[in-house]
Subunit: 382 residues, 2 copies
C-alpha cells in the first residue's frame, strides 16, 4: 500500500514503531464543483481531493502540518486502515503519537495530488464533460497546480495558516512552493531530499522512464482501456526510477552479486538484483496508472525556482523558517542542492538551517527511520 | 563511426590532434578454423577476429600494446580510414604519433571483441553449421573468452609478450584479465575507469537496459530478421546506459534546463536533454546489434575478480605493473574501485600506482583528451 516499495530493503519502520502507530485511519474526499484553472492552460471542470488527517485540530486551528507526498506516494501518510493491513502509511516512522511529527500535538494532513491515481482527480477519473475517463486527455499539470489544489483542502478545513509543511522529494518541492507562493500561510517548511529545481540529469532519468511507457504498443497515446495499458513499459520505467532512489552501497548491501538459484546464464533474470527490480516494476504497475506517471514526472521536471531565487523573489525576510535535510548518499537530489536551498533562504534573511543524514540508503533515505533526523525535525516543529 | 557518441559533448580530440593523427588505417580479419571453446559451455566452430594495428612492430616484437575496447567500441582505435571520415577512431586523442601511446615507438593493436557486431564473430555472423546468422542462438560469452580470442590474434602476429595492455571501462576489465590469466605475457597494464568486478548497481543499470530490449515485441527471443529487430527497445536501453556514462555536472553544462524550441508541454520530447538522449538512442541502433548488446552487457556483468584477489591469486609479485586511473565524477565505476585495484596489486607485491583525473565528464572521461593523463600514461609505458 505504501508508495515506496523499498521500505523492505532496510529495517521497516513498522518493526520498531507499530506499537505507537495511529489507530484505524480513514480518508475523506473533498469535492469542489468549481472549475480549477491550470497553470499551463485549460481547466479541470470539477475536482476531487482525497485526504487523510491524524491528530486533533486545535480550536484556534494553529497546529496543522501538511505532509505532501512524493511521486508515487499518496494521502495515506501514517497509520493503518485496518489493524491487519500489512503496512502502515508511507511515513509512519515519523508521524504518530510521540513521533517526530507528534499527532498528540499536531493535526497532520495528507492529500493525494491531482494528476495522481489514488483518489484525487487524475487520468483515471471521469471527465464530467464526456462521462468517460480522462485517460490520455488529462491535461498537463504543474507542482504549482498541485499545491493550489491542496490549498483548497486546507481552506475547507478552516485553516488560515499552516504550522508547517514537511515533505521529501517531490513533497519537498511542494513545501518550497508553499513558502514561495503563500508565505503568509505557513510558519515553517522542512524540505527533505529535494532542491530548488529538477536537475537536468534527474530530467534525463524521468525522460527515459517516460520513453519506456510511451514506446509500449499498449500505450496508444494514453488512450488505453482499463486493465490494458502499457504495463510492460511502466514496469521497466519504474525500474529505472527505482535505481535512482537507491545508492551503489545499498545495492551492494542488499544484493551483492548474488544469483537467482537455478538461473541459467542466458536467462533474462539471472541476478538477484534483476529479480528484485522486476518484482518492483510488476508491483508498481498494480498500483499506479501510466498516464499519472507521465503527468506527475513531467510536473516534477518543470519544477524550477532558481530564477525566482536569483531575483530575490523566492524567500523573503519574515517568511517561513526553513530546515533543509540532505541524505549523504542521495545522488538524485544530492546534498549540494539542499545546501543551496539554505543559502538562498539565508541570503534573503530567512531563518534557515541544514541537517544531513549520513546513510547508505540513497534518495529513499528520507523514508526511513532515523533518530537524529527525528530529533531535529521535532525541535524544528517546536 | 566511433563507439562513443558523446565525444561531441566536450572538446573533440579531433580538434586538437587531427594534425597528428595517423594516416589512412585499415582493418584485417584473422580467421581461425579451429573450434573455440567457451567458458560457459559450447563452442564457436569458427572464429573471425577483426583487428587494426598502428605503428611498426620491432623485429624483436617487444613494443606491442593492446588496447581493448569498451562495450560499444571496436577495433578502430585511432586514425581514419579515409581522410574525409568525419571522426577518427575512438581513442585517437591518446593513440598516434607523439601521443600518450606513441605510434612512433609502439605497435598498437585494436581488436573487435567476439560477440560484437563490428566484424568479429558475433550474433550477426553466419553459423557455419546452419548457414544462417547466429542471431538469438549465439552462445553466452565471458570477458575471459574475449581475452582468450584476442590472444589468438596476438599469437598470429608473432608476439610472445605484450609490452602493455591499456583499456578503459570494459577494456580495463580485459586488461585486468590479461594480467590475471597471462601474467607472463604482458609487461604492464593500465586500467581506466573500471574495477575488480561489476558492481550490483552497474548490473542493475544493464539489467534494465536489457529489459528494454527483451520487452520490445520485435525482439522475438533474439530471432529477429535483418533490418527488423528491437530497435525501439535498444534505443531506449542505450539511453539508460548513456546517462550512466555522464555526470550530473555534465548534464548541467551541456543542456541545463533548456527546452526544445516550439515544444509543447505534453510533447514526448520537450527538454533538450530528452532530444539529445533520443538522438543518441537512434544513432546507436544504426550501428549496433541488439543481440550483441545483450551478450556483451551480460559478459560485463559476470566480470568478477574479487574472490581471486581475496585469495591472493589475482596478482603475483613480478607480474605486470599496474596503473589504475580513476575519473573523479565517474559514478558507474567510481574512483574507489580503481583504488581497490591498486590496493589488491600492492598487497600482492606488484608495482602499482593510482592516478586521478579531475573531470566533470563522468565515466566517459576516459575517452577525452587530458594532458595530465597523457603525461602519466606515457611515463608508465616507458
Amino acid at each position: 500500500m505504501t508508495g515506496f516499495p523499498c521500505y523492505d530493503m532496510f529495517d521497516s519502520p513498522t518493526k520498531s514503531s507499530s506499537s505507537h502507530s495511529l489507530g484505524p485511519t480513514q480518508y475523506h474526499d473533498f469535492i469542489s464543483s468549481q472549475p480549477f484553472a491550470l497553470e499551463l492552460g485549460g481547466e479541470l471542470p470539477q475536482l476531487t481531493l482525497r485526504y487523510e488527517t491524524y491528530g486533533t485540530l486545535l480550536p484556534d486551528k494553529s497546529n496543522a502540518i501538511l505532509v505532501p507526498h512524493a511521486l508515487s506516494g499518496d494521502h495515506h501518510v501514517a497509520g493503518r486502515y485496518h489493524p491487519d493491513d500489512p503496512k502502515p502509511g508511507w511515513w509512519d516512522g515519523f508521524v504518530g503519537p510521540g513521533k517526530a511529527i507528534d499527532t498528540d500535538r499536531f493535526f497532520v494532513i495528507g492529500i493525494n495530488c491531482i494528476g495522481g491515481c489514488r483518489g484525487s482527480t487524475g487520468p483515471l477519473s471521469t471527465d464530467p464533460r464526456t462521462g468517460k475517463p480522462y485517460g490520455g486527455f488529462f491535461p498537463e499539470i504543474t507542482l504549482g497546480d498541485i499545491v493550489r489544489a491542496q490549498r483548497l483542502v486546507i481552506r475547507h478545513l478552516g485553516i488560515p495558516r499552516l504550522h508547517a509543511v514537511v515533505g521529501g522529494s517531490m513533497g519537498g518541492m511542494q513545501a518550497l512552493l508553499w513558502s514561495a507562493d503563500y508565505p503568509d500561510e505557513v510558519g515553517r517548511i522542512a524540505v527533505l531530499a529535494a532542491g530548488l529545481s529538477q536537475s537536468p540529469m534527474a530530467i534525463a532519468l524521468n525522460a527515459v522512464s517516460r520513453a519506456c511507457v510511451e514506446s509500449d504498443p499498449q500505450w496508444r497515446g494514453g488512450h488505453y482501456l482499463p486493465g490494458e495499458g502499457p504495463q510492460t513499459g511502466l514496469a521497466i520505467g519504474r525500474q529505472i526510477a527505482h535505481i535512482s532512489y537507491l545508492s551503489s552501497a545499498a545495492f551492494d548491501q542488499k544484493f551483492g552479486r548474488a544469483r537467482v538459484p537455478g538461473a541459467q546464464p542466458k536467462d533474462s533474470v539471472y541476478w538477484q538484483v534483476e529479480s528484485y527490480l522486476q518484482h518492483q516494476g510488476e508491483s508498481f504497475v498494480k498500483r499506479f496508472d501510466a498516464n499519472s506517471w507521465l503527468r506527475i514526472t513531467r510536473a516534477v521536471d518543470r519544477f524550477d525556482l532558481t530564477s525566482r531565487a536569483a531575483a530575490g523573489r523566492l524567500f523573503r525576510a519574515g517568511g517561513p523558517d526553513v530546515l533543509a535535510i540532505g541524505f549523504s548518499s542521495d545522488w538524485l537530489y544530492p546534498t549540494s542542492e539542499l545546501r543551496m536551498v539554505v543559502a538562498a533562504a539565508t541570503a534573503a534573511g530567512v531563518n534557515a538551517a541544514y541537517h544531513e543524514v549520513v546513510t547508505d540508503a540513497g534518495h529513499d533515505g528520507f523514508l526511513l527511520p532515523d533518530t537524529g533526523l527525528s530529533v531535529r525535525l521535532r525541535a524544528f516543529l517546536g
